[in-house]
C-alpha cells in the first residue's frame, strides 16, 4: 500500500486522569445489573469535568487524554463527547459495562473519540467513536458477575486493536487484565509506539513491573492509567538512562489527579527501526528477534511539527 505517512512529532503530550471510582459502591449486586450507581455516576462525572478543565488550562494542551477502565458512566457519553470536541483532543477512555439484557451479558469496553476536525485543528462539534473490548475478565470481575440474581456473564472481544494516530504514532490498547496476555504483547511487538493500559487494578506493583519489562520487550512507551482508588498510574519509556525511564508515577490510593506528560515519538520510532546506535544511544538495545512492522517514515528532523493552538488565547 502506498500511503503517504505524515511526519511523526517530536513528542506527544498525553493527559492522564485518575478518577477515584469506588468499585464496591458503584457496582452493587443488589441492584440486579452491573451498572454504575447514581451516586457514583454523578461523583465520577464531577471529577471528570474537573480533570478536563485542569488539562484545558495547561499551556501545553494534551493531544490525547486517557481515563481509567470503567471510569465514564454510559449516561454521560454524549456530554463527554461534547467536552472532548470543545477541547479538540483525542480521548481513550474506559466506559461502564455495555449490558445486553436479553442474554444477560456485559461487555467491558473502552472508547476512542476522534473529533471530526481534529486533524485540521479546527473546533469540532461531533466526534467519531471507536469501541474496543476486553478479552479476559479478571477473576474477581468474573466472579462478581455471578453474585447478581440472575447471574450476568462476561462477553469477550477476541480482537486486538492498533490505532494509527498519524503524527502521534501507532497506539496499542489493553484493558486491565488483558495487559497480562502474553500473546497480546507478542502481537503488539514491533507494531506500536505506545501501549496504553486503562485499568482498575488493585495489585499496583505487579503492573508496575510488567510495564517496566514490557516497555523493553515490546519496545514502546507503556502508559498505565489506573483508577485513583488504588493509584499507580505510570509512564515508562525504554530509555538507556535509568533515571529517565519512569516519566510519571503516582503512588498511594484515593488520589484524584490529572497530569500532562510528554512521550517521545520520533526518536523512539528511529530506535524501533534500529537507527539509534551506540555509543551515544538514547534508548535500550532492541530485544532479540525484534522486527519492526511499522512503515519506516524517515521523518525529516526539521519536518513541519503541528502548531499548538491553545484553547484560550491570552487577551
Amino acid at each position: 500500500m502506498t500511503s503517504k505517512k505524515p511526519a511523526l512529532v517530536e513528542a506527544l503530550t498525553l493527559g492522564v486522569i485518575q478518577t477515584t471510582l469506588d468499585y464496591e459502591a458503584a457496582w452493587n449486586a443488589s441492584s440486579g445489573e452491573p451498572k454504575i450507581s447514581a451516586t457514583e455516576d454523578s461523583r465520577a462525572w464531577h471529577e471528570i469535568r474537573r480533570a478536563m478543565r485542569a488539562l484545558a488550562d495547561h499551556d501545553d494542551q494534551p493531544r490525547i487524554i486517557l481515563l481509567p477502565e470503567l471510569a465514564l458512566p454510559r449516561t454521560r457519553l454524549d456530554d463527554f463527547e461534547r467536552l472532548v470536541c470543545s477541547m479538540n483532543t483525542l480521548a481513550i477512555v474506559g466506559v461502564d459495562y455495555r449490558l445486553d439484557h436479553r442474554t444477560k451479558s456485559a461487555k467491558n469496553e473502552g472508547l476512542v473519540l476522534v473529533p471530526k476536525n481534529f486533524w485540521k485543528r479546527k473546533p469540532s462539534r461531533y466526534a467519531a467513536r471507536v469501541w474496543f473490548g476486553k478479552r479476559d475478565p479478571a477473576p474477581a470481575e468474573a466472579s462478581g458477575f455471578n453474585e447478581y440474581v440472575p447471574p450476568w456473564s462476561f462477553r469477550a472481544d477476541p480482537n486486538v486493536y492498533v490505532f494509527d494516530a498519524g503524527p502521534y504514532g501507532q497506539i496499542g490498547v489493553s484493558i486491565c487484565y488483558d495487559f497480562m496476555d502474553i500473546e497480546r504483547a507478542l502481537l503488539y511487538r514491533g507494531r506500536v509506539h505506545h501501549l496504553f493500559v486503562i485499568a482498575y487494578n488493585r495489585d499496583v506493583k505487579l503492573f508496575e513491573s510488567l510495564a517496566v519489562s514490557l516497555s523493553r520487550t515490546v519496545f514502546c512507551n507503556v502508559v498505565i492509567c489506573n483508577t485513583g482508588y488504588y493509584g499507580g498510574s505510570l509512564v515508562v519509556s525504554p530509555y538507556w538512562d535509568a533515571f529517565k525511564r519512569i516519566g510519571y508515577s503516582v503512588d498511594g490510593g484515593e488520589i484524584f489527579t490529572a497530569q500532562c506528560v510528554q512521550l517521545p515519538v520520533r526518536d523512539l520510532d528511529a530506535a524501533i527501526h534500529g537507527c539509534d546506535t551506540s555509543p551515544k544511544a538514547t534508548y535500550k538495545h532492541l530485544p532479540p528477534g525484534f522486527t519492526a512492522s511499522i512503515d519506516h517514515t524517515a521523518a525529516p528532523p526539521e519536518g513541519p511539527s503541528p502548531v499548538i493552538v491553545p484553547l484560550f488565547t491570552p487577551a
Binding site: 454523578s42 456530554d79 486486538v160 498519524g166
Partner: protein, 630 residues
C-alpha cells in the same frame, strides 16, 4: 441590555432571551454539585453515599429524585426545581406580554419538559384568560390545539427518558418532575374542546398519555418512581381511540403510527416493546399491514396471513421481506401455515429449514450456526471474524462478476430493449451457500483456514440453484437501468458484508419501507457503534452503500470530456465499477489484515484490527485503494 429596535424587535428579543435562559438553566441542572459547594453544604462523604446505595431499595422508594441523581439532599432538589420553575414563569411572563408568539407557546412546553418545570395548569389558565377577549377567541383555540398536540409528544418523550437507564440522572429527574406536573394537569378533568381541531389534538394527547402509561408499565424498575398516575379518563380514552371497533380504522392506525415514531428516531433492527404493543392493538385491521411491513421479524400471524394472501403490485420483489419474517421462527407451525400460502415464502421456508445433512447450507443458516455455537472459549470466534466476512463477500463478488457483460453489440441491444422483466442476480445472502463441514472443521492456523476457504481455486462459496434464488428490492440498486448494470450487485454485496459483520441479517426497520434510501448512509456508523472493524473495511462499506459513490462513476465521465473539471470527490468513497472491482478492493483490505495475524497454541488464531484514526474523519480513499483519478 438595550438592542436597537431595528436590529432585533422586542418580541423576538424576549423569545430569544427566554430560550437562552432555558439553556443556562439546563447547564445548572446538569451540575448540581456546584450548588452544593457554592452554598457551603458539606461535601458528601463516601460513608453516607454507600449507606444510601446499600439501602438502595428503600432509599429510592422514599425519594425517587435521590435514586435518580444520587444526591441525597432534598434542599438541593428543591433549589433545582426552583431554578426550573423560575425559568418557566419567566417564559410565561413573556407570553403574557406577547401572546402572539406561537413558536414560544410551543417552546414553553418543551422547556417545561426538559427542565422539569411545574406550572402547566397556569399555562393553560393563561390561554383561557387570553381567550376572554372576543378578538382572540379563534387564536386561543388554535394555541390550545397546538399545545395539546405538543404536550402529547412531550409526555411520551418524558416517559421515554424516565425509563431509559442510560440517560443522565438529572434528565430523568426532570422528566419525572414534568410527568408529575402533567398528571396534576390531567387530574383537573378532561377539558372541553370547542372546535374540531382542538378535539383532534386532545385525542392525540390522550394517545400520548396511553403510550406513556404503557412505557412506564413495561419497565418495572422505573414504574415505582412515578407513583401518581396519569388521569385514568385520559388513558382510557387513548386506549379507546386505538383499540375500539367504533373508531374509524384509518384513525386507529394513524394514531398507532404516531406512537411508533418515537421509537424510530434512530436506526433499529427490531420493533421495540411499545411498537409491538401499539401494533398489536390494531393488528386486526387490514389498514395496519403497511405498519407491520416495517417490522417483518415481529409481525404477528394475522398481518402475515393478510400480506401472504394479498396479490398485486405490493407483493412484487418482496421475497427478501419473507426471509426477514421467517428467519428467526421458521420452525413454528403457525408460521409454517402462513408460509405455505405464498410460493416465495414457501421457497424461503424450505431453504431455511433445509435438511441438516445437506452438504451446502445457505449463507444465513451457515452463519447463524457459527454465531450460535455458544463457544465457551473464544476459539471459534475468528471463523466469522472480519477477515472471513471479507473473504465470503469477495468470493460472492467474483461469482457475480463472472456473469458481467462486455460492451458489445449484443449488450447494447439488450440495454435498448428496456426489458423490465429481467431478473438480476440479486446479491441477497440467501442466494449464496457454503459447505456445512466448514462449521466444525479444525484449522490449526490462519494459513490452513485460508486454504480451506479458498479451495479449490475459486473458493468454497456457491450460488444456490436458480429456482431457489430470491429477489429483494432492498438489495437491488436504487436506480434500475440497463446502462451500467454491472454496478448493480455492489450494493447488495455491501449489505451482505454489513450483515455478516454485525452478526444479524436484519436490516434497520426504516429500510423496509419505500422512500428511505438515505438510511443506507448511516449503516457504517450504526455498525461502528456495535463492533469495531478495520478502517479499510469502513472504506469498503462506504463505497458499497453511499449513493454518492455510485453516482460518481457517471460524474467522473464528465471529467474526461471537460479538462477544467473541478474534482469535488476527494473525500468520497472509491467508485466501484463492477463486482470484480469490489473483489479487488476487498483483497487490499484483506492484505492489510493478513499482515496482522498470528496463529498461536491450542489452535487459537488471533487478529490485530488496524484502525487508522485519520481515516475516520477525513480520508482520501482513492489514494488508499490505489485508484488515482479516473
Amino acid at each position: 441590555m438595550d438592542v436597537p429596535e431595528a436590529e432585533m424587535p422586542e418580541r423576538t428579543r424576549l423569545a430569544f432571551a427566554a430560550t437562552r435562559l432555558a439553556r443556562v438553566a439546563e447547564a445548572r441542572l446538569a451540575a448540581p454539585e456546584t450548588i452544593a459547594t457554592r452554598h457551603g453544604g458539606p461535601r458528601q462523604s463516601r460513608t453516607t453515599e454507600s449507606d444510601a446505595t446499600n439501602r438502595n431499595g428503600t432509599a429510592t422508594l422514599l425519594d425517587p429524585f435521590a435514586g435518580l441523581t444520587g444526591i441525597n439532599d432534598s434542599q438541593i432538589h428543591a433549589r433545582l426545581s426552583g431554578i426550573a420553575d423560575r425559568v418557566f414563569s419567566l417564559v410565561r411572563r413573556v407570553l403574557h406580554e406577547r401572546p402572539d408568539r406561537v413558536r414560544l407557546w410551543t417552546h414553553a412546553l418543551s422547556i417545561a419538559r426538559r427542565l422539569g418545570a411545574t406550572g402547566l395548569n397556569l399555562l393553560f389558565d393563561d390561554i383561557d384568560r387570553y381567550a376572554r377577549d372576543p378578538v382572540n377567541r379563534l387564536a386561543a383555540s388554535y394555541i390550545r390545539g397546538n399545545s395539546y398536540a405538543v404536550l402529547a409528544a412531550e409526555t411520551v418523550r418524558a416517559a421515554q427518558l424516565l425509563v431509559n437507564t442510560n440517560a443522565a440522572g438529572w434528565r430523568r429527574a426532570a422528566a419525572l418532575r414534568s410527568l408529575r406536573d402533567i398528571a396534576s394537569f390531567t387530574n383537573r378533568g378532561m377539558p372541553d374542546a370547542d372546535r374540531w381541531f382542538v378535539q383532534k389534538s386532545l385525542d392525540q394527547l390522550c394517545v400520548g398519555m396511553y403510550c406513556a402509561t404503557v412505557l412506564l408499565e413495561q419497565s418495572p424498575s422505573s414504574s415505582h418512581l412515578f407513583r401518581e398516575r396519569l388521569s385514568q379518563a385520559f388513558v382510557d380514552r387513548g386506549h379507546e381511540l386505538l383499540a375500539s371497533g367504533n373508531m374509524p380504522p384509518n384513525l386507529r392506525v394513524a394514531l398507532a403510527w404516531w406512537g411508533c415514531k418515537f421509537d424510530l428516531s434512530k436506526p433499529v433492527r427490531r420493533a421495540s416493546d411499545l411498537i409491538i404493543h401499539l401494533g398489536t392493538l390494531v393488528e386486526g385491521l387490514p389498514e395496519s399491514d403497511d405498519l407491520w411491513t416495517f417490522f417483518p421479524a415481529d409481525a404477528p400471524i394475522a398481518p402475515l396471513e393478510r400480506i401472504a394472501s394479498a396479490t398485486g403490485a405490493t407483493q412484487a420483489k418482496r421475497d427478501g421481506w419473507w426471509f426477514d419474517a421467517l428467519m428467526g421462527r421458521y420452525d413454528r407451525p403457525d408460521i409454517q401455515q402462513v408460509a405455505a400460502l405464498l410460493p416465495a415464502a414457501n421457497r424461503i421456508q424450505t431453504s431455511l429449514s433445509g435438511s441438516e445433512a445437506a452438504n451446502l447450507l445457505p449463507l444465513p443458516v451457515w452463519a447463524e450456526k457459527i454465531w450460535g455455537s455458544n463457544d465457551p472459549g473464544i476459539s471459534k470466534e475468528w471463523r466469522l471474524g472480519e477477515w472471513t466476512c471479507l473473504e465470503i463477500v469477495r468470493q460472492a463478488a467474483l461469482l457475480l462478476s463472472s456473469t458481467a457483460q462486455t460492451l458489445d453489440q449484443e449488450y447494447l441491444q439488450r440495454a435498448s430493449r428496456n426489458d423490465t422483466g429481467t431478473r438480476y442476480h440479486c446479491a441477497h445472502p440467501l442466494n449464496f451457500a457454503l459447505p456445512s463441514h466448514l462449521i466444525d472443521t479444525t484449522a490449526a492456523s490462519w494459513h490452513e483456514w485460508k486454504q480451506k476457504l479458498r479451495e479449490p481455486g475459486n473458493g468454497v462459496l456457491r450460488r444456490v440453484p436458480l429456482r431457489h434464488q430470491i429477489f429483494d428490492r432492498r438489495y437491488a440498486p436504487l436506480v434500475v437501468s440497463e446502462i451500467g448494470s454491472a454496478q448493480n450487485p455492489i450494493r447488495g454485496l455491501g449489505l451482505c458484508l454489513f450483515a455478516l459483520l454485525s452478526r444479524s441479517f436484519l436490516l434497520p426497520v426504516q429500510w423496509n419501507g419505500p422512500g428511505h434510501e438515505s438510511m443506507l448512509r448511516h449503516l457504517p456508523q450504526l455498525l461502528r457503534d456495535e463492533i469495531t472493524y478495520s478502517s479499510a473495511t469502513l472504506g469498503i462499506l462506504e463505497a458499497c452503500l453511499q449513493p454518492r459513490a455510485a453516482e460518481n462513476v457517471l460524474a467522473n465521465l464528465f471529467q474526461t470530456w471537460n479538462p477544467k473539471f473541478d474534482d469535488d470527490t476527494e473525500h468520497d468513497p472509491v467508485s466501484l465499477i463492477d463486482a470484480a472491482d469490489l473483489a479487488r478492493v476487498i483483497s487490499i483490505a484483506q492484505t492489510e489484515l493478513e499482515a496482522n495475524q498470528i496463529s498461536t497454541f491450542n489452535q487459537q488464531s488471533r487478529q490485530i484490527t488496524p484502525v487508522n484514526l485519520m481515516h475516520l474523519t477525513d480520508v482520501d480513499w482513492k489514494h488508499y485503494f490505489e485508484m488515482g483519478p479516473a
